[in-house]
């Protein structure tokens, strides 16, 4: 019974989320008390479902780009030929993380204009660090005797990377991706300040018109998405780790 409870709760959250996105009107009575002066309780300047999908799309594009760049960079600096670039790449990626996303947006708008692009740039830069650091940890901590055995068996550098090092680092890299995705899901909301179509639009509209119901529904959808995606990626990680007989962090 105990073991099923978390799964049951997650399914409930998922069902609620889908129901709210598909037919938000049903929930109107619940949110009505939060509004004042007869303001609408459900966001009425666009479909919540399409905003949520746009939000996910933006995060997905930025994350995939961050994965490709961060993992390639980590692979590069852990090969014998690339070791000298390790400190440089570390500081570059760290700069990406220290730059506040709002500042990136402000700087990116004059360069690429309003819309989705500046948000993608901000999310991409912000998402690099966790993936890069974890990929680096994974690739540098593969057990020495396993890598030695792979060399002794006659694997070339590429074969070692693809058949041994990357599969062994997979759980750690997945953990980095999970962190990155959750940060991006939250950060994407501020993309709406530069006219990106994300769930931030609902929150900002609520803040502008002093409508607590808008703020709450925008925030709750983002939160539910983050929790569900976090859980799904954690489960994936545990699967990958269990296969190797590693004890998961939980």
């Amino acid at each position: 019974m105990r073991a099923w409870l978390p799964l049951f709760l997650r399914l409930c959250v998922l069902a609620l989320l889908v129901a709210f996105l598909v037919s938000p009107q049903v929930f109107e009575p619940l949110l009505k008390p939060l509004t004042q002066n007869g303001a609408p309780a459900i966001y009425n300047q666009g479909s919540l479902l399409s905003l949520a999908l746009q939000h996910l799309r933006t995060v997905a594009i930025a994350t995939v780009a961050a994965i490709v760049v961060a993992v390639s960079l980590a692979i590069l600096v852990t090969r014998p030929a690339g070791v000298e670039f390790l400190p440089l790449s570390r500081s570059l990626v760290n700069i990406g993380q220290t730059f506040p996303p709002v500042a990136v947006l402000a700087l990116a708008v004059p360069a690429v204009g309003f819309g989705e692009k500046p948000t993608l740039i901000a999310l991409f830069l912000y998402g690099l660090l966790p993936i890069f650091e974890n990929a680096l940890t994974g690739l540098t901590t593969t057990p020495a005797n396993v890598v030695e055995a792979a060399r002794g068996a006659g694997m070339t550098g590429w074969q070692r990377l693809l058949r041994v090092e990357l599969p062994l680092s997979l759980p750690i890299i997945l953990a980095g991706i999970r962190l990155s995705v959750v940060i991006s899901l939250a950060t994407a909301t501020i993309g709406s300040t530069v006219a990106a179509k994300t769930l931030g639009e609902v929150i900002i509209a609520g803040l502008l018109s002093n409508n607590l119901a808008f703020v709450l529904q925008g925030g709750l959808i983002v939160a539910a998405l983050a929790v569900l995606i976090y859980d799904a990626l954690s489960a994936l990680e545990r699967m990958a780790a269990r296969r190797m007989g590693q004890v998961s962090a939980e």
């Binding site: 055995a149 002794g152 694997m155």
Partner: protein, 312 residues
């Protein structure tokens, strides 16, 4: 045949392997013995070019090993290491199939070979093939490690302290298995260890290394009887070398005519086991039988003691 000629490996100013020359005969077991830092592992790893020598040549069946690309060379030479180094994300069958699949064998041939090796190492293919390494005991992991090294039917097998992580009982069993497999396939085995006992037990020849140099390279009886210097003598262990010497001979070779009372010993047992049994049971002689139980004669304490003396 493996010919090692004037091989030196330097890291900076330090010669880890210093001008070593030796010839390893095919289908024999050669054990390289030395303390930590003696260069024994480095010498082993230069044979399959995991380490490149600073100078000198290593020839395998007359072919300079530098004429073959490293990965290709290593696929033709078995390699087993301490702590087995199995790939934790691959099943036992996939681990054993590593080199055959690198060589591009077809799936049917790989499966047949994996099953053959698992059976050879007393692991049921149906039960163990699909398991992951962490689901096996230490002894089973070690056997899978050796099976993986032998998968592509190499003529030469390099082993770096393969039994180091095993408890004494499983180690003895693993050593017997290795000798049986060596006799079956006729593989040339070069094994590195710090344990002289293991070297005497397994080796057709023993190479003793110290501080990068090859001190003595000879058959076990020679090493025991005439250690080249004090270092070899210490390694052999002065207090029990007569017993090591006895452990080299089978009871069959020490049989004397006559009869004796009490439990018999098989003619396959070592003379050391026979002496131990005689001392423990307080007898002066015991009967010897062959593997079908026929009486062959007897062994005596006096006879064995004479054999334990330093050879002239």
């Amino acid at each position: 045949m493996i010919e090692i000629e004037h091989v030196t490996k330097r890291y900076g100013d330090v010669a880890v392997v210093d001008d070593v020359s030796m010839v390893i005969e095919p289908r024999t077991v050669t054990v390289i013995v030395g303390t930590s830092g003696s260069g024994k592992t480095t010498l082993l790893r230069m044979i399959n070019r995991l380490v490149e020598p600073t100078s000198g040549t290593i020839r395998l069946d007359g072919v300079d090993n530098r004429t073959v690309p490293g990965p290709q060379l290593r696929r033709s030479i078995g390699y087993a290491i301490q702590g087995h180094g199995l790939f934790p994300h691959r099943t036992v069958a996939q681990n054993i199939a590593t080199v055959p699949s690198l060589l591009g064998w077809d799936a049917g041939r790989i499966r047949a070979r994996v099953d053959e090796l698992l059976s050879l190492f007393q692991l049921d293919p149906a039960a163990f093939g699909a398991r992951y390494p962490h689901e096996l005991s230490g002894g089973q992991q070690q056997r899978v490690g050796v099976a993986r090294a032998l998968a592509a039917e190499p003529n030469v097998l390099l082993m770096d302290e393969p039994f180091g992580a095993l408890d004494p009982i499983i180690r003895t069993k693993a050593q017997e298995d290795l000798l049986a497999i060596q006799r079956r396939f006729g593989t040339t085995i070069i094994l590195v260890t710090h344990d002289m006992e293991e070297a005497v037990h397994l080796g057709d020849r023993i190479a003793v290394m110290d501080a990068g140099r090859l001190i003595q390279y000879a058959i076990p009886a020679e090493i025991l009887a005439r250690p080249a210097n004090d270092f070899v003598e210490t390694l052999v262990g002065a207090s029990d070398r007569p017993f090591k010497l006895l452990s080299l001979g089978a009871v069959r070779d020490a049989v004397e005519p006559g009869e004796a009372e009490g439990a018999a010993i098989g003619d396959e047992a070592t003379q050391r086991d026979a002496l131990a049994e005689l001392l423990w049971s307080g007898r002066a002689a015991m009967p010897v039988t062959d593997d079908e139980g026929r009486a062959l004669g007897r062994v005596t304490v006096n006879g064995l003691v004479k054999r334990a003396a330093r050879p002239a």
